[in-house]
C-alpha cells in the first residue's frame, strides 16, 4: 500500500501497475465551477442546445476538465514527490464524458531513467481513465522528475519508452454520432471554420486573464489533485520559489479559454501531442495565449483536425513573442501541441 508520504524514485519498476484511488463523479457543479475558474466558452460544454445540435445525447464535459480530474487521480501514486512535470505525449480523448459519469484511473510505469546527479530520476507513466461502464475515455503518457529517497543508491537499468511525436490523424477518436455542422456561426460568433485556417497561421488571442491564489487552488482542489506545491504555503516558503506554484493544468485551461476568440468553432480537443510547462506561473501573473497552426488533416466531409501549438505567455502581449525562436523567453510558461476537431465549411 502507498505510504502516506508517497513514492520515491527507487519505488518504481518498469511494468509496475497502479489502480488509482478515489473515483470521481462529474456533476453540473464541476462544469459550472470550471467555467467560473477559467472563463471557458467552448460551446458544446456550455449550451445544451448546441450539444443537441451536434447530436450529443447530453452536454459533454469539457475535455480538459476530464483530463484534470483523471490526472488528479494519478498524483498520489505518480507525482506526489515530483520535482517537475517534464512532458506529455500521446494523449487521446477517446469517448465523450457526460455529467454524472464516474471516472477512475489506472497507470503503468513504462520507463525509468536516473539522472546523472544521482538525486533524482525520470519516471515515464502511461495512464488510462475509464468511465463507470469500464469504457476507456482517455489515455496519456507523461514523465515526471521524482526525488530519490537515498541519493547514494544504485541506478536502475534505464528504459526510455518510444512515444509518438504526435497522435496520428487515424488515431483520433470521432464520436460516431457527431453531426459537426450542428455548430453554427450564429452560435459560435464566427465563420472561421476548418477550411479557413492555414498552416503556420499565427493567432494572437486578444484577451488576458490574471490569476489569483484562490483561482488555481480552488481548481486544483476541485480536481482532487494533492500535489503539495500548489497548496501548502508554509512548506513552499522554504522552496526556491518562496510561494505556491500554479498547477500547470490550470494554465492550460486558462490559455485554452483565452483562445476562444480566434478558434470559436473548435468543438473538442481530440489529442494532446506534446507539451511542456516551460516556466512557473504564480498568483498575480496575467496569462495571454498565442496559437500557431501546425497541421491540417481532413477527417471526413464535415470535420477536420487542426493541430495547433498553444503558447501560454505571462505578463506580456502575445505579439511580443516569436514562436519560431528556438529559445523562448522566460515569460513563455506553456508550449502545448494539441489537436482540435473543427467543422468544415
Amino acid at each position: 500500500m502507498r505510504p502516506l508520504t508517497g513514492y520515491f524514485f527507487e519505488d518504481y519498476r518498469v511494468g509496475q501497475r497502479f489502480v488509482h484511488a478515489t473515483p470521481r463523479t462529474i456533476t453540473a457543479g464541476d462544469v459550472a465551477l470550471y467555467i467560473g475558474l477559467t472563463g471557458a466558452r467552448q460551446l458544446p460544454h456550455c449550451a445544451k442546445t448546441v450539444a443537441t445540435a451536434l447530436s450529443h445525447p447530453d452536454t459533454p464535459v469539457d475535455d480538459l476538465l476530464v483530463f484534470h480530474i483523471a490526472f488528479g487521480k494519478t498524483v498520489p501514486d505518480v507525482s506526489y514527490n515530483a520535482v517537475a512535470n517534464l512532458g506529455y505525449a500521446d494523449c487521446r480523448f477517446l469517448q465523450p464524458v457526460y455529467v454524472s459519469d464516474t471516472l477512475r484511473c489506472e497507470s503503468e510505469v513504462i520507463g525509468l531513467k536516473q539522472n546523472s546527479n544521482g538525486k533524482t530520476g525520470v519516471v515515464y507513466v502511461r495512464s488510462n481513465a475509464f468511465n463507470q461502464n469500464d469504457a476507456l475515455v482517455l489515455t496519456w503518457a507523461r514523465w515526471v522528475m521524482i526525488a530519490k529517497r537515498d541519493a547514494g543508491g544504485a541506478a536502475p537499468e534505464a528504459v526510455v519508452p518510444t512515444l509518438p511525436q504526435s497522435v496520428a490523424a487515424e488515431s483520433l477518436a470521432i464520436p460516431p454520432f457527431l453531426q459537426a455542422r450542428g455548430l453554427t456561426p450564429s452560435a459560435s460568433g464566427s465563420d472561421r471554420f476548418w477550411d479557413e485556417f492555414t498552416v503556420n497561421q499565427v493567432i494572437d488571442h486578444p484577451a488576458g486573464m490574471t490569476l489569483d491564489e484562490t483561482d488555481h487552488t480552488l481548481a486544483t482542489k476541485l480536481y482532487q489533485n494533492t500535489a503539495r506545491v500548489h497548496f501548502d504555503l508554509h512548506h513552499m516558503r522554504d522552496s526556491r520559489f518562496g510561494r505556491r506554484l500554479v498547477y500547470g493544468g490550470h494554465v492550460i485551461s486558462v490559455c485554452r479559454a483565452l483562445s476562444y476568440d480566434g478558434l470559436e468553432n473548435a468543438i473538442s480537443v481530440a489529442a494532446i501531442n506534446a507539451g511542456s510547462h516551460l516556466n512557473p506561473t504564480f498568483a498575480g501573473d496575467t496569462l495571454y495565449a498565442k496559437t500557431v497552426v501546425v497541421e491540417k488533416t481532413p477527417l471526413n466531409d464535415d470535420l477536420g483536425a487542426l493541430r495547433v501549438r498553444l503558447l501560454g505567455i505571462k505578463n506580456a502581449e502575445p505579439s511580443s513573442i516569436n514562436p519560431a525562436n528556438p529559445q523562448l523567453p522566460e515569460n513563455v510558461v506553456l508550449d502545448l501541441d494539441y489537436t482540435l476537431l473543427m467543422p468544415r465549411q
Copy 2:
C-alpha cells in the same frame, strides 16, 4: 463578422442588429456558485419547498443571475471597448428561467451620440434574451460610452432614444400561476410584507461584505463576460485605476443580497427602472446597502409592486449616507431604481 478586438464607435449604426454568440445553459452549479459568490438568500431560488409553495414548476433562477448571464452575451458586440457603462432603463423580467434553460441574446442599436471631445461616443442598445423555446425572458436598454477608432472622424447624426423613466406597473410581468402567499414568515424570517412598507421609508441593511479579487473575477467569468477591465491586471496597471475594476453587476448582486435583511419577502425582481454605477469598486472594498421605498402599487389581491432605490456604499455605514443629497459622496458606488414583487398581508 466581429473583429477579435471588438467594435469601436464608428462601427455602430442605428438599427444595426446583433445575434450574440455563445448561448448558455444555466445549471444547478451556476445557482450554487451565485449563492457562494454573493451570499444571496432570496428564497424562491434557494429552497425548492418555497418555489413549490409559490406554484413554480421548479426552482426559478435568481433574476439577477439571469441578467448577468444575458448581459455577458452582449459584451463582445456591445461593450468590449466600452469606457464606461452609463446607464440602464426599461429592464423587464418577463418569464421565470429554470435550471437547464438555455439563454441566447440579441441586440439592436437604438441610439448614437458622439461626445463633444470627438474621442468617444454613446451607443444606446436594446437587448433581448430568449430561452430555448424562443420565449422572450428578459429585455433591457443600456447605454455605454465607446472609444472611437479615429478621434478625427465625423460624427454620425445624433439619435437619442426616448426611454421610460420607470417601468409602468401594467408592464410588469406576473407569472400567471404564481401563488404569492406561498411565501410564509416562518420561511422568510419576516412578517414585513408589501402592506407594511411606506413610501420614503429608508432601510439601512445591517450587513457588510468585503470583496476580494477572486470573488468578482470568478463571478464575471461565470457569466462569460469578457470585458477586459475586470480580468487583465497587466493591462489595467497602465489605466488610471492601476488595477482591475469590479464588474458593476457583481456590485448589484452583492447589494441585493445584503438587502435581504429588511426585504425578506421580496420574491422576485420584476424590473430595473434605472441605474448608474457612480464610482468604481475594487477588491478590498466593503459593500453596504441602503434601500429607499419609492413607490407602491398593488398588482392583485395577493401581490404588490415595491419600487425601491438601492444605494450601494463602500467602506462606510449606510446610516452615514443621505439619499436625498443631490450630490452623493464618492463612496456611493451604485444607485439602482428597481421594482420588487412582494406578497401582500
Copy 3:
C-alpha cells in the same frame, strides 16, 4: 420578530424556541463547490459508484456540508452577536441527506449563564435540522458567548444544561440499508479498515492547505452563514483582530479533508462529541491535521465506530504538536472529538 441587528443576551429565555428562516435545497453545485473549497475526497460523496456499492439510493451529501448549511440557518437567531463559539456537544447525524433535499432548522434555548464581568453571557442551544419530509437529519447542542445590550442589567437565573461527554455508541445512527463492505481498498486507496486502528494511535496527516480570503468567505456565503466577523473587513478593522476571522466550520472541513490520508475508509461522520475552536485562523494560515484514536466500538459485523480527536494546527507540522499536552500551543486552532463509521476487515 427578530430585530435586523440580531438578539442580545437579555433577549434569550430558557425554553425559548426559534424556527429559523431560509430553508435551503442542497444541489450538485453545493457538492462540487464543497470539494473545490476543501479538497475533500471522502468517497461516498464524490463517487456515485461507491455510494451505490454502499447501497445508498443516491450520492449522500458530505455530513459536514450538511452541518454547515444547517448551522448557517441558526446564525441570525443564535449567534449574530456572538463574541465566540465556545463549544459543541451531542451532535448526531441521524439520516443521510441527498442532493435536492431541502433543509430547515429549529432551535431551543437550553441554558443561560451571565458572565461575571456583566458584559456578556453564555447561551446554550439545542438545534435540529429537518429535511423536506420533516425527518430529523441532524441534532446538536452548542453554546456561544453573546454580548449584552446593557452591561448593567441584572443576570437571569443560571441554567447550565447537562450534556453528554460523548455520544454513546448505541445512539449512533446507522443507515439500515448500509452495506459497509461496499467500500473497497482499490477505491479508497487503503486497506486500513476499522480493525487496524488502535486506541491512542496518532496519525500525522501529511498534507497542508493554505487558506486565502476567498476560500473561507465563499464557503461561508455558500452556507448562508451571516456572522459579520467573517465578511466585513471594514467592521473588523476596528476589532482586536484587525481582519476577517475564518469561520470555524471551514477549519473543521479543511482538517477533515486533510485527514483523508490515513483515514481513507471512514465512510461518514456519525457524531461530533465535543469541539472547541482554540485559536483564530486567518487568511494566509496553512492548516495541518493530526488525529488521535480515542475509542473503538464494533457496531455490527461489517462496521465499527472510531472515535477520534482531530487537532487542527496552523503553520506548523503536526509532528511538532504533543496532543497529550494539557496546554496546547496557540498554533493549535481546533480540538474536535468526533466519531467516524468505518467498515471492518
